[in-house]
Symmetry: C2
Subunit: 189 residues, 2 copies
Amino acid sequence: MNPALNYCSTCGAPVSQRVPPGDTLTRAICDTCGTIHYQNPKLVVGSLPEWEDKVLLCRRAIEPRCGFWTLPAGFMENHETLPEAAMRETVEEACAQVEIGEMYTLISVPHISQVHAIFRARLLSLEFSPGIETLEVALLAEHQIPWGEIAFRTIAMTLRHFFADRKTGRFGFHTADLRPEDRNRPSHP
Amino acid sequence: MNPALNYCSTCGAPVSQRVPPGDTLTRAICDTCGTIHYQNPKLVVGSLPEWEDKVLLCRRAIEPRCGFWTLPAGFMENHETLPEAAMRETVEEACAQVEIGEMYTLISVPHISQVHAIFRARLLSLEFSPGIETLEVALLAEHQIPWGEIAFRTIAMTLRHFFADRKTGRFGFHTADLRPEDRNRPSHP
C-alpha cells in the first residue's frame, strides 16, 4: 500500500485533492509549491526456477500471506531492468543463483494497482536457503505443490500454466487480468 | 521525474535517507512517524494501431520531445489493467477507438526507471484527431515513417519490430533492455 498523501514531499505543505488542468483524474496537488503528486501501479517481478522436474518455491515469513507458498518475487526497484529485478528477488528470497530466461506471465491486478511479471529461470545449483523474508525454500515436483497454500492467485496461475505447458513441451507467454470477482473461478480455465 | 522526497507525505515532517532494517537500499524514512517512502519504476503503456498497411502515430505537443512522433502511450494509472491503460492512452492522445490485441513489446529503460509496454491494436474507424497532448495524428505507411523524428527509442524499436515481423507474417512478443550506452547502436540489430 502507498503511504497517505496528506503533505507535499517536496516542501512539506498540505496538499489538496483536485484535477490538474488538462488532466482527467484527481491528484494530490501542493497548495504552496504546485507540485502534482502522481501515484502509479507497481511492478512485482520474480522467477520460476526449474531444477530437473521440480520448481523452487518459498514459504513467506512476512505478511501478507505469511506461511503461504510463493515464487521468489517482489517490488521492482528504480534503476533496474525486469530481468535484473527477477534475479535480485530470487537471491534475496531464496539465496538461489538462477539464469533468467524468457518472460513467462504478465498479469494485471488492478484492484491493488499492481502488475506481476514472472520469468522462467534455470536454477544453477542446489545451494539455496531462506532469505530474511522466507521461512523455507523447497524444490517441489508437480504432485507436491501445495495448491491450497499458494500465497497469491498470480502465482497459482503461473504455476498452472507452467505444468500445463510442460506437458505440451511449448512454453508460451501468458498475459491476464485478475480482478477480485475472479477469485472463485479457476485461475486457469 | 518523481518530485523531491524531502518531507513525509503522511505527517509532513522531514525525512532522512537511510537503509531500513532488513532492507539493502537507502529509502526516505520519516523521522517522526516512521513511514518508509519507497519509489519504484513506472509503467508507460500504449498501442500500435493498425489500419490496412498503415500505423497511427502522434506528434507530441508536450515535453519531453515536443514536436517528435510517437505511438499513443503514457503512464499507467492506478486501478487499471495494462490493456485498459493502452486503450485509454489511445483515446486521450489520438481520440481514436481501437481494439487492443496482444502485448507486443515490453522494454525496460532502467536509467529513467521506466518499463514501456506496447500492445498491437486494430484501429476501428478513421475518426481520430489530436488530443490535448498531441499536435497531429497521422496514418503512415512504412516508407512514410519519420525515423529521424521518433520521440523515444522504445517506440522506434517497436516500429522496427513491427515492420520486420509484418514481412514474415509472424508477430512475436519482444522484450529488451535499453540503456543510455545503447543510444548510438541500431535499436533493432
